[in-house]
């Protein structure tokens, strides 16, 4: 194999036809407000944890909605459950319960 100094970039496109949305539907049943998200990122901006470590609640929400569960477990462990995101959300989404239920659904301690 020749080293060309670069590798073939993998696609970031998610083919939703191949995704299993069962866990997302489970979460939406437990936290119905989760559907209201408009991706403004206010939650991430106010997050205490993201000021010290690479952590992005908006990204967690997007990954969960795209059924990319494999990448989530480690991310969910970073949340301190302070609830500031829930206070600032302009759509009134119960983010703290959403994170807690995500952990439960994905069996994250």
């Amino acid at each position: 194999m020749i080293n060309f100094g670069y590798t073939i970039a993998t696609t970031r496109v998610v083919n939703i036809d191949n995704c299993d949305f069962e866990k997302l539907h489970e979460l939406e049943a437990l936290v119905p407000s989760f559907k209201r998200c408009m991706n403004c990122g206010a939650c991430t901006a106010t997050c205490s944890a993201q000021q010290f470590i690479p952590f992005n609640i908006r990204k967690i929400k997007s990954l969960f909605q795209e059924a990319q569960y494999d990448k989530l477990s480690k991310e969910l462990e970073k949340c301190m459950l302070c609830g500031k995101c829930t206070l600032v959300c302009p759509r009134g989404i119960s983010l703290r319960p959403a994170i807690m239920n995500m952990r439960k659904i994905l069996s994250v301690k």
Binding site: I2, F4, T7, I8, T11
Partner: protein, 351 residues
Amino acid sequence: MTKRFWNEYQKEIADDHFFYERSCIRQTFFPGSENAFLRMMREVLHKDIRDEENQHTCTGIGYHSDIVPLETTMTVVARLFALMTEAGYTNYVPSCVTSFGIFTEMVEMWKNDPELLAKTRENLKKATGREFEIPTNLVHPSDIIYKFREELKQHMKYQLVNRFTGKPLRVVEHVGCHYAKIFPEKGIGKSEFPYVLAGMIESWGGEVVDYPERRHCCGFGFRHYLLQENRGYSIANSKKKFDSMEPYEPDFIVSNCPGCSMFMDKWQYTIAEMENKTYDHDGYGIPVLTYEEMAGLLLGYDPWELGLQIHQVQSEKLMDKIGIKYDPDAKYRGVNGKILPTPNKPTFLKQ
């Protein structure tokens, strides 16, 4: 014949008296293509086409890489148009799809902003003492071949048919992004269903492969491949296309853009070296031809004069399928009769 959207739109293509501008990179990667086009125009179609010796770059690669400023590109384009005007022509034919896009863009800007045109005229006059007229007809050579495809067919010795099975060859057509995606009305069939290459393939006996990523960019993208760190994104685009076309088992790929033809040819080697992956059954790769090479082969031109040996993926298997006769011993023979050095063989891609 089935009615299709693209049949409803045909751009205006002049009949005769063309001013030809060569491409910067085609003469390196496809050295016989431009000569084959000129030969077809003069010897087969009996058209008047001028091959200007004082021509130069359109600055396309520099322009799209943000290295050459717009004013400079405009003045350089104006000088090329001045050469056309001085030679007494009004129909401009740039060999390269990037150049075609550049010229179309500059002409469009001049149309919408007369002050910009006046400024360009002034810049050109100051810099070179020349004056220019905007071409009345600006077309790509593939448009001309498309227009005269039936006339060319009458002179063709071969068809795009597999002589072993009697079935049409399955051809992937790739139209360069700058051909019609910038100004849709400048392309035959507009940008959604460009028919320029598909029309040639269908007329000459082949079958066009309609695969999911047919209109996807090849990944050339100028600034994307110029930086080594970004080439991973560039090659990923070509790979996406190859992965998408692979199940349809195409016999070859044809393109009207220098960058696309070069990338889809060379990246097959790179992907093979990186992942030991080739996109045909036998490990030879899918040959990539320019439309002039395709037409030249069918007209019976010598494949080595067309420069097929310069390609990364070799075309002998394809020529065997069509029934084209060639001399294997003459593959690397120069015009002076001497045998040129043979290129090294790739690790995985068979030759």
